[in-house]
């Protein structure tokens, strides 16, 4: 089947839905989502959205800018970050006007809380900058935006996954998707396509991400000749519930929770003397792993304790209900009385598809635009998070750049027409799928995926070194070879998850290789990327963004400069 829409948005998380709401007045908008829209992973976000409203204590956008630049370990593009933090108050008020049920101060204003890395006076003390709705901020913002889409009659293609991007000459003219419910392929033609497909945490064994976070959009862009930027920067959130990896929000520490080792000691005092437990996430994750490596984990095991027992029942029930619920269900303990076992968990990828500040996808280091193609959210790299993202800046990123992408698409499509009406791109995918199903390969997707997840955890997570990265690249390479012989035994059309997962695995293996290669070439440590063999930040050689291109000879690494405006790089101490 072939359909036409002016705007096609891939992904129904916050970035995609915000862009949809923006485009609604100007044309026909369709959102394609691999899961039913309200199941998108944005709904799992807990902690909050940052904005310098100053509702609880004095705050300024200049401080928010500094914190984000420093948090990024000076790799973030400061012009883009400035746009984001200056737009933040407008974003919050707009959300509130749409109906988001933010938690409130006694006077009735939007409440704000402390969060890692957010300070007053350029790093002096933590500041209350994160607006929140208990610990389910993502859920309520997603629900509100989805309801706005329904109100404005946005068309949805739920449970459709994208198989390929369609290009007409050099312009992106649509996508081919597979309708999970029927197994039928659809060719969706568009004047503008926005990729808002989220992250790829499922590449790692321990992750906070849902099963759908397999990096499809990033991989499809990469296969189309678009480079991927800063992929070595993968954030491990310090407090994943042990052993599942489920997110225990930084909000717990924002409300006063403390990390303790086997000796009951508040060890963050040593690693981050000023802000302690509220340091940037990469700093805390490394601290936890050093503690456990040096046998100070609880019972000598691979986890430490997050202690909320001094917060009191009322605060926990009021502000941290979801977290308390997870802990009770999955561990059978109660955070009011027991400390929570936590370990670092793969949470977010700072890298992604390079864009300008309006979501237009860039195809090289010179900033050449790919007409018709846009990206926003976790799958994009503007870059506002650089080498490490601060908590609560992601929801802000989604809403600022989701909207800006929508504005850019509205402006740009005037010059575009629909591409050629050939059904060829769809037929090509149909035949690829038929071949895959017919092939009777001997390799099982589950074994390959588990091996990939272990390899990435071992060689590509918090602590990296040259030998490990090279071994990792070799192993992923051999998994990619084996993947060519993958067998899909379920031959049915409807809800063929085995087929979908086999295709997702292909994306994940490509991204794994890009991540490890980027990490190997960056011979320094910066933000979330830590090299045991190059433990120091080396601005002279590496104050630049990594770009990996797909070439016939294999992936190739190039670089582009970082935009430094107000803050010159300095030592990053918390």
């Amino acid at each position: 089947m072939i359909h036409q829409h002016d705007f096609i948005i891939i992904g129904a998380g916050l970035a995609g839905l915000r862009a949809a709401v923006e485009c609604v007045g100007q044309g026909d908008v369709a959102v394609v989502s691999k899961v039913f829209p309200t199941r998108s992973h944005s709904g799992a976000a807990q902690g909050g959205i940052t904005a310098s409203l100053g509702n609880e204590e004095e705050d300024r956008w200049e401080w928010h800018l500094f914190d984000t630049v420093k948090g990024s370990d000076y790799l973030g593009d400061q012009d883009a970050i400035e746009i984001m933090v200056r737009d933040a108050p407008r974003v919050i008020y707009e959300l509130e006007h749409m109906g988001v049920p933010f938690s409130r101060t006694p006077e009735g204003k939007i409440a704000q809380r402390n969060f890692g890395g957010h300070t007053r006076d350029f790093g002096k003390k933590p500041v209350k900058r994160a607006c929140y709705a208990a610990d389910r901020t993502g859920r309520v913002v997603l629900d509100t935006l989805y309801d706005q889409c329904l109100r404005h009659h946005v068309k949805f293609y739920p449970e459709n996954y994208v198989l390929s991007l369609v290009f007409d000459q050099k312009r992106c003219a649509g996508v081919v998707t597979c309708d999970l419910a029927t197994g039928e392929l659809l060719l969706l033609q568009a004047k503008a396509v926005l990729l808002a497909t989220g992250g790829c945490g499922r590449i790692y064994k321990t992750t906070s991400n849902g099963f759908a976070s397999t990096g499809d959009g990033m991989s499809l862009a990469f296969q189309s000749g678009i480079p991927l930027e800063d992929m070595e920067f993968v954030q491990f959130h310090p407090t994943g519930l042990y052993p599942l990896g489920i997110l225990v929000s930084e909000a717990a520490r924002g409300e006063g929770g403390l990390l303790r080792n086997r000796l009951g000691k508040r060890f963050m005092e040593r690693y981050a003397p000023t802000v302690k437990d509220l340091a940037a996430r990469d700093v805390v994750s490394r601290a936890i792993l050093i503690e456990t490596r040096e046998k100070r984990g609880i019972g000598g095991m691979d986890y430490v304790h997050l202690d909320l027992t001094h917060l009191g029942e009322e605060k926990i029930e009021e502000r941290l209900w979801e977290i308390a619920s997870f802990v009770r269900i999955y561990l059978g303990i109660d955070p009011i009385y027991d400390p929570i076992p936590v370990q670092p968990t793969c949470h977010y990828i700072m890298g992604g598809i390079p864009t300008d500040v309006d979501g237009r996808v860039l195809r090289d280091e010179k900033g050449s635009i790919t007409p018709g193609l846009y990206a926003a959210g976790e799958c994009a790299c503007v870059s506002v998070h650089g080498a490490n993202r601060l908590g609560c800046n992601s929801l802000l990123d989604l809403l600022v750049f989701g909207r800006r992408s929508g504005l850019a698409m509205k402006k740009d499509i005037i010059q575009y027409e629909y591409g050629s009406h050939s059904a060829e791109p769809m037929k090509r995918m149909e035949s690829r799928i038929k071949d895959l199903l017919k092939h009777k390969g001997k390799e099982r997707g589950d074994s390959l995926r588990k091996r990939m997840q272990s390899v990435m955890m071992e060689y590509g997570s918090v602590f990296r070194n040259e030998e490990g990265l090279k071994k990792g690249i070799e192993e992923i390479g051999s998994l990619k070879e084996r993947y060519k012989d993958i067998g899909v035994s379920d031959q049915k059309k409807a809800f063929n998850y085995e087929l979908m997962e086999a295709i997702e695995l292909g994306h994940q293996l490509d991204l794994s290789e890009v991540i490890l290669l980027s990490a190997l070439q960056r011979r320094e440590s910066r933000g979330a990327h830590y090299r045991e063999d190059f433990p120091v930040r080396a601005d002279r050689y590496f104050l630049k963004h990594t770009l990996v291109f797909e070439t016939p000879k294999g992936p190739e690494v190039r670089y582009k400069p970082v935009k430094v405006t107000r803050f010159q790089p300095e030592a990053r101490v918390y």
């Binding site: 849902g210 099963f211 997707g445």
Partner: protein, 235 residues
């Protein structure tokens, strides 16, 4: 430990009618039922179909009937079961394949109650004020993840003759807006809900409240809607 899962199967592409298939899975007591289902799919039978996403009870994808009670497969741990677990799709809804049901009617009912803030007064430059006491009125309702367990468990919805009842989930969302101090469409909302298929369809049977994975006091909230409608009409 070894656990046996007896699972409802139906594939309209090949089956004339549904049947049950039993699988044995090696599992840790702290594993989720969802982990067992995935193990079956990845290691034994790739044709088994069910929805899932977050794996930790926040997205609402994996609602199913487990040993006769609706709940999320990712929130049930193996250790809370004896040797055999019966797994079936959510009742009330048409089965599409195995444990996957057609939730379109569920979402249509949800949409019918106007699930968005309606205001006439233009918004201020900053936030509309709302006191913590006002927020507390509806804050439990915002936990809803649209998993459909409540509506699937409701005897009124299960009964063919009263199946047009809008259902507990839609009413929870209606409650959320009716009791949000910022909303300015009370009259419009109450008119919508003041129907036999609206709030009055609830027979106070409590099944919804029993199964809600987010501990929302559903029956109580529906009761509060009824009270509000009654008071408005009898001023």
């Amino acid at each position: 430990m070894l656990i046996r899962l007896k699972i409802f199967r139906f594939d309209p592409e090949k089956d004339e009618k549904p049947y049950y298939q039993t699988y044995e899975v090696e599992a840790d007591p702290m594993d989720r039922l969802l982990d067992c289902l995935n193990r079956i799919r990845w290691e034994q039978d790739p044709t088994l179909s069910f929805r899932m996403s977050c794996g930790h009870g926040v997205c609402g994808s994996d609602g199913m009937r487990i040993n006769g009670v609706c709940g999320l497969a990712c929130q049930k741990l193996v250790r809370s079961f004896k040797e055999e677990v019966l797994i079936e799709p959510l009742p009330v809804f048409k089965v599409v394949k195995d444990l996957i049901v057609d939730l379109d009617p569920f979402f249509e009912k949800y949409q019918s109650i106007k699930p968005y803030l309606i205001t006439q007064t233009p918004p201020p430059d900053q936030e509309r004020k709302q006191l913590p006491e006002e927020h507390r009125q509806f804050k439990e309702a915002i936990r809803c993840i649209l998993c459909a367990c409540c509506t699937a468990s409701c005897p009124v919805n299960q009964n063919r003759e009263t199946e047009n009842y809008v259902g507990p989930a839609a009413l929870v969302r209606a409650f959320r807006y009716l009791f949000d101090s910022r909303d300015e469409a009370s009259e419009e909302r109450m008119a919508l809900l003041d129907q036999e298929e609206g709030a009055w369809g609830c027979q106070t049977l409590w099944k919804c409240t029993e199964v809600c994975p987010k501990d929302i006091p559903v029956t109580k909230q529906i009761g509060q809607i009824k009270k509000r409608i009654y008071e408005a009409k009898n001023k």
